[in-house]
Amino acid sequence: MSTKFNVLDHEMVPDHQKMTDSEIAELLSHYQITLEQLPRIYSDDPAAKAIGAKIGDVIKIVRKSQTAGLADSYRNVVKRPKK
């Protein structure tokens, strides 16, 4: 029991994918931004942990948007700051 719970299966959790280095470079040059300007996600976030993302990775999130149908979003994996 309890092993069947998978964060990524929940209907509120959109699709998370790790991006390759070349995809990240393309993304940054397309929007002309630096990595720090992306929204962040903590490395201990349940969804980030589920796909095995490490600090420094970029996660592509394909959201089910209420206006556009599907919408891409990106988050930079960072360490949770100590309070």
Partner: protein
């Protein structure tokens, strides 16, 4: 419409929904290549026209779009949400709660969906609810405070245990343990008799005060279910049984057998961000705000709500809107000072030798300069018509 047109639609830089609508509209119609090219050009043009332009003050538009309907909301609407007398905070207090990113809402509640084999059978749904609803020991039998012998006697009724699908031995083991661990009361000894289901509790110091204190702990210790969930209501909705709860504990509920872990949700956004992650929290904020406003007959465009949810979830955890969150983390000193506790911000900025580069809207309004929005964003250089060179 042929295959190449379909491929052209899918390759176009348009939102998925627009593409789907276009495909639905064109389906089964005769379209020539020229007509199709014209349609695609028109679509592209229309789409680009509806996009937000750079330097549009979308934040202020969102704030006002939500602020004005907010003034029309009934101030205090506590209301039995139509669902079997479970009390849920709604209206303005709930909206404030969401935007303040409180650690716990004032009325935490869960909507628990069940797996197919449990959701169609009322008895099975009820069984799941017993695993979830916190049940104190006094519901399982009689408790006698024996003052002559200075002890508390608990007689567990077997029928109740059978009905609630819990073994008598489990209760006998759990009750003293949970009084110690959960209620932090340790000055007692207990002795169980498995044959007739009696537990005898004796206080360490034989005073009446301790005896009554112990009796109180014995009566109220939770022996079955999840401690935070005070009440569970089973309702049939759309052909399946759904459990509504008072109190919320997503993590423990997910471990109960029969719970559908893909659809069960809570109104505690902080809990969602911890168990399901920041993206789920963003979705929860959007859904909760939309339904809170919708409940009052107010319709705010979901784009404004999405912008607010995006801002709140940008840094990996749910931040509140106020001075401990988004407004307090702004770059500009003047902008921060313009929002609550002005003197403190100015003083701290002076001590830290901060400077303000006057990039934003608020600070430029304060110093009386044109703001970088709309016509203020561009610089015009006039060239006389009859200039020589």
């Amino acid at each position: 419409m042929d295959e190449s047109m379909l491929a052209a639609i899918h390759a176009a830089e348009l939102p998925e929904r627009t593409k789907d609508e276009l495909i639905k509209d064109l389906d089964g119609k005769e379209v020539t290549a020229e007509q199709f090219a014209a349609i695609m050009k028109g679509m592209q043009h229309e789409y680009e026209r509806t996009r937000i332009e750079p330097c549009e003050a979308c934040g202020i538009v969102a704030a006002q779009s939500l602020g004005e309907p907010g003034t029309q909301m009934t101030m205090r609407t506590f209301h039995y949400a139509g669902v079997a007398e479970i009390n849920v905070t709604l209206g303005l207090p709930r909206l404030i709660e969401i935007m303040d990113a409180r650690k716990e809402p004032s009325t935490p509640t869960m909507t628990i969906h069940l797996e197919p084999e449990y959701s169609v059978d009322r008895d099975k749904a009820r069984e799941v609810s017993w695993q979830i609803e916190a049940a104190p020991l006094h519901e399982f039998g009689d408790i006698i405070t024996d003052m002559a012998n200075m002890r508390v006697e608990m007689h567990i009724k077997k029928e109740v245990c059978d009905k609630r699908k819990i073994a008598m031995s489990e209760i006998m083991e759990r009750a003293p343990q949970k009084i110690r661990d959960r209620r932090h009361y340790r000055d007692f000894e207990s002795e169980g008799n498995a044959a007739d289901g009696t537990i005898i509790f004796t206080p360490k110091n034989e005073t009446y005060q301790n005896l009554f204190q112990l009796a109180d702990h014995v009566r109220n210790v939770i022996v079955q279910g999840i401690d935070d969930i005070e009440r569970v209501v089973v309702r049939k909705e759309g052909g399946e049984y759904i459990l509504y709860t008072e109190g919320s504990n997503l993590k423990d509920v997910f471990e109960v057998e029969g719970v559908d872990t893909t659809r069960t949700r809570t109104n505690n956004i902080n809990e969602i961000s911890q168990i399901l992650g920041i993206e789920a929290a963003r979705n929860a904020i959007i859904d909760e705000m939309k339904s809170t406003l919708g409940e009052q007959g107010i319709s705010v465009d979901v784009r404004h709500i999405m912008l607010i949810a995006d801002m709140m979830c940008m840094d990996g955890e749910v931040k509140q809107i106020g001075r401990h969150g988004i407004a307090g983390e702004k770059e500009s000193v003047l902008s921060r000072a313009a929002f609550e506790v002005t003197v403190n911000h100015l003083l701290d900025a002076a001590v830290a030798r901060e400077s303000d580069i006057l990039n934003g809207v608020t600070e430029n309004v304060i110093v009386g300069q044109p703001i970088q929005l709309g016509t203020g964003d561009i610089r015009l250089i006039a060239k006389p018509l009859n200039q020589e060179n």
